[in-house]
């Protein structure tokens, strides 16, 4: 214990994407001592890859208000989102977007000089009426623009960064208070204990669980797995979003903004097939709806290409000017990876693993909450979580495009404000008990000895293949049960896995091994939760239970590592000030 160097801060933030950086900025500006730990340099975090934009009812293009945004989000969530948190988020949206503009984000502009807004999926005016234009965009590089601006403002605010440090596990005492985390400096392999009065997990999603995904290689769900190991359940893990338009077979994201700007999908007959699945919203229906439609077209033999395994996203009718001006990043990506110009040739696309709706259960202040025995849930002392690794839940069973950037900004800010209040009451660090780091150190040291089993990269590939084959857009009991058995088997085999790099200097093999340990826990949580939920809701589509079952399943799942157990809790149907939106049949 005494041999591990220790640093002390008011707040430790793990993860330097948009959620972590927005929280860090708020805290630094309030003169709190903040440490941000990130396994990559902050601007390499995956927020950088967000394309289309961030939703806020600014009404810069057409009339809009937060209440319509709230309705769309509740409906998009297939009524699994918590309506208090959704009201809070939609009301706060204009404010956080204006703040971003003040921070310097180079939003695209309208002729009026105001922020450009585009149409996106699942957006309506007047509670299900005409298409809205609610997504504030910086061309199709909105995430890049936001992440860099937030990092820049943190430079100004003198936030303390631990760049390229990998968090191994959370540290807590016998009373259940969270006291910080054990991390290692990747460059040297040196462990370090970062002690904090409050710890905020903002580590992003786990898209690397699936073979074909839109995610960065760093998206391995580290925070979710740390929470699981610390005894926190994960909520709603069966809901994994498949983005309708990843580049077929490769996975690079093609923003929904392409369809927002007027692009549409066609099958092998050249038919605009979304007209059949969503007569009103067509190509701008919710993502789960569009992904299922594409998968169905392909299954029924109307796919395109030699293997008839994808559909086409057509935007050549928009004209080269609009493509270059509004979608320059997409054009670059398609030209680089497919050697075609999307302004002339349609893009081959297929649903691709994209976003973890589930995660660490929190309230709307970002406090991690867990049920206490049979009673109501209570905040876990000293632990917060925001962004994709958290589950507030504002996305429920299906997230709307443009709501993930909003989620990280609104709740990054809200969590920071709550932490500031907490810090004003808690003046001292609680003592760190002897041996508090032992488990975390053992986890690190396990990779210093030779294993006799299989190699880490081989197991990581196998896990991603199993998840893709067994837990994809359409699911059923048999396939999920096999998937669960296989993932559990991989979890066992990881115990004997080996790496063949024992250097202390920038040992990425060891980091990847610990990432695999994280991924497999999330894989178990995902298939186990999916197997239990015998209904179809949002992104979770069971062929054997094709209908939504509100009587039985209008509740959140909770998966705990202890015995791989499932538990459930009610959806918070009551908003803060307005009437609840009761569940209705969901059509677009």
């Amino acid at each position: 214990m005494s041999s591990i160097p220790k640093r002390s801060f008011d707040t430790l933030i793990i993860g330097a994407g948009g959620g972590g950086l927005r929280a860090a900025l708020q805290l630094s500006q309030a003169d709190a001592r903040v440490a941000v730990v990130s396994k990559v340099f902050p601007t390499r975090s995956h927020t950088v890859a967000a394309q289309g934009g961030v939703n806020a009812a600014l009404a810069n293009v057409v009339p809009d208000n937060w209440h319509w945004h709230m309705f769309d989000t509740v409906k998009g969530s297939d009524y699994l989102g918590d309506q208090d948190a959704i009201e809070y988020m939609c009301r706060a949206a204009p404010r956080v977007v204006y703040e971003l503009e003040h921070f310097g984000v180079p939003f695209s502009r309208l002729d009026s000089g105001r922020i450009y807004q585009r149409a996106f999926g699942g957006q309506s005016r007047n509670f299900g009426g005409d298409q809205a234009a609610r997504t504030c965009a910086a061309a199709d590089r909105t995430g890049h623009a936001i992440l860099h601006s937030l990092y820049q403002q943190n430079i100004r605010a003198k936030t303390h960064f631990f760049d390229e440090y990998f968090a191994i596990d959370l540290i807590k005492d016998q009373d259940g208070y969270f006291l910080g985390a054990l991390a290692i400096e990747i460059a040297t392999g040196e462990p370090i204990l970062i002690e904090a009065k409050t710890t905020l997990l903002a580590t992003g999603g786990a898209g690397q669980l699936f073979r074909t995904n839109t995610n960065a290689l760093v998206n391995t769900g580290d925070g979710m797995a740390m929470a699981l190991r610390a005894g926190i359940p994960l909520q709603d893990m069966e809901f994994f979003q498949f983005h309708p338009t990843g580049i077929a077979g490769k996975g690079m994201l093609i923003t929904e903004g392409v369809r927002g700007e007027g692009g549409y999908l066609i099958n092998s007959d050249g038919e605009r097939f979304m007209e059949r699945y969503a007569p009103n919203a067509k190509d701008l229906a919710s993502r789960d709806v569009v992904s299922r439609a594409i998968a169905t077209e392909v299954r029924e033999g109307r796919g395109v290409g030699p293997n008839k395994d994808h559909v086409l996203l057509k935007l050549d009718h928009l004209g080269a000017d609009i493509v270059k001006k509004r979608l320059p990043g997409i054009r670059d990506t398609v030209m680089t990876f497919l050697h075609i110009d999307p302004a002339e040739t349609p893009i081959p696309v297929f649903p691709t693993a994209h976003y973890t709706m589930g995660g660490i259960p929190t309230d709307r202040y970002g406090q991690v909450v867990v049920p206490v025995q049979q009673g109501a849930e209570e905040p876990v002392p000293g632990l917060y979580s925001v962004g994709e690794c958290a589950c507030v839940s504002v996305h429920g069973a299906n997230r709307l495009g443009g709501n993930s950037l909003l989620d990280i900004l609104v709740f990054g800010r809200a969590a920071a404000n709550h932490i500031i209040g907490h810090l004003s009451e808690q003046h001292y660090h609680r003592p760190i008990p002897d041996g508090a780091c032992d488990t975390a150190m053992a986890r690190l040291e396990r990779w210093n000895r030779q294993g006799k089993g299989e190699s880490v990269p081989a197991l990581r590939k196998e896990l991603a293949k199993v998840m893709e084959d067994h837990c994809s857009v359409f699911r059923n009991e048999e396939v999920l049960q096999q998937g669960k058995d296989k993932v559990l088997d991989i979890r066992e085999r990881i115990r004997d896995a080996y790496i063949d790099d024992y250097s202390q200097v920038f040992n990425t093999a060891r980091i990847e091994a610990m990432e695999l340990e994280n991924l497999v826990e999330i894989g178990v949580a995902t298939v186990a939760s999916a197997l239990e939920r015998t209904e179809s809701r949002g992104a979770h589509s069971r062929i054997d239970y094709p209908e939504r079952d509100d009587a039985r399943w209008m509740r959140h799942s909770l998966f705990s590592l202890d015995g791989d157990k499932m538990d459930y809790k009610p959806v918070r149907m009551k908003p803060l000030t307005v009437d609840s939106f009761p569940p209705k049949k969901r059509t677009y």
């Binding site: 390499r44 003040h102 180079p106 502009r109 430079i155 960065a216 990506t333 190699s455 790099d501 920038f506």
Partner: protein, 233 residues
């Protein structure tokens, strides 16, 4: 396909060396990127160390020197490369291990230009207005991904990495000078005075040549110099 890769682990190696690798042709698919090849080579030899993340040219992690030219491995196609593909770390920076360089100096120069919007007027309730034409001035500037390909290809930066700010930082300086919302023009220009920070740029244009995002730091530096001259008149 044959590769020759720079190896150095200060924990174990007295000095750096080049190691040959070979990737079987049946593993190479049409349109594959260099990063895909490196990931496969790392499966063969897990001790090979390099940074990577997004795999699509937006995070800026995998800048390296590829057959003598800086670029991002994830958007460099294998078919454009002469064999054996010689891969080295970005030049001029201290090597941490293999293809991983210490970018502290690069980031320090970035921070030096105060890369954040400065505006001292009261904060409005809504957005500050900017015309599409004013916003267009930021195109070709804000897209920088801080991959360091440009600064580490610049001879002026090699000779004076602590004094010359380098193309990446200067591009950011101009990004804020060009922003109609920014009010710190005088301060920014004052900070760039002297023979080194800005004026060590001799328009060699390696930065433009290598930028994986197609940006033009030399032109940005030219704009700053013009503004300096205009101010002194």
């Amino acid at each position: 396909m044959k590769f020759s890769i720079y190896r150095y682990d200060p924990d174990q190696d007295a000095k750096p060396y080049m190691q040959d690798y070979e990737l079987e042709d049946n593993k190479i698919e049409h349109g594959m990127m260099l990063l895909d090849a490196l990931l496969l080579l790392k499966e063969q030899d897990q001790s090979l160390s390099f940074r990577r993340s997004c795999q699509e040219g937006v995070c800026g992690s995998d800048g390296m020197n590829i057959n003598g030219r800086n670029g991002l491995a994830c958007i460099t196609t294998l078919d454009e490369l002469k064999q054996p593909v010689e891969i080295r770390p970005l030049p001029g920076m201290p090597v941490v291990r293999d293809l991983v360089v210490d970018l502290s100096q690069f980031y320090k120069q970035y921070r030096t230009v105060k890369p954040y919007l400065t505006n001292d007027e009261p904060v409005p309730e809504v957005e500050r207005l900017q015309t599409p034409e004013q916003r267009e001035q930021l195109d070709g500037l804000y897209e920088c991904i801080l991959c360091a390909c440009c600064s580490t290809s610049c001879p002026s930066f090699w000779w004076n990495p602590d004094k010359f700010l380098g193309p990446a930082a200067l591009l950011q300086s101009w990004r804020f000078l060009a922003d109609s919302r920014d009010q710190a023009t005088e301060q920014r220009l004052n900070d760039l005075e002297g023979p080194f920070r800005l004026f060590r740029c001799h328009t060699i244009m390696n930065c433009v040549e290598v930028c994986p995002k197609g940006l033009n730091p030399t032109r940005a530096i030219g704009h700053i110099k013009a503004l300096m001259v205009k101010r002194s008149l």
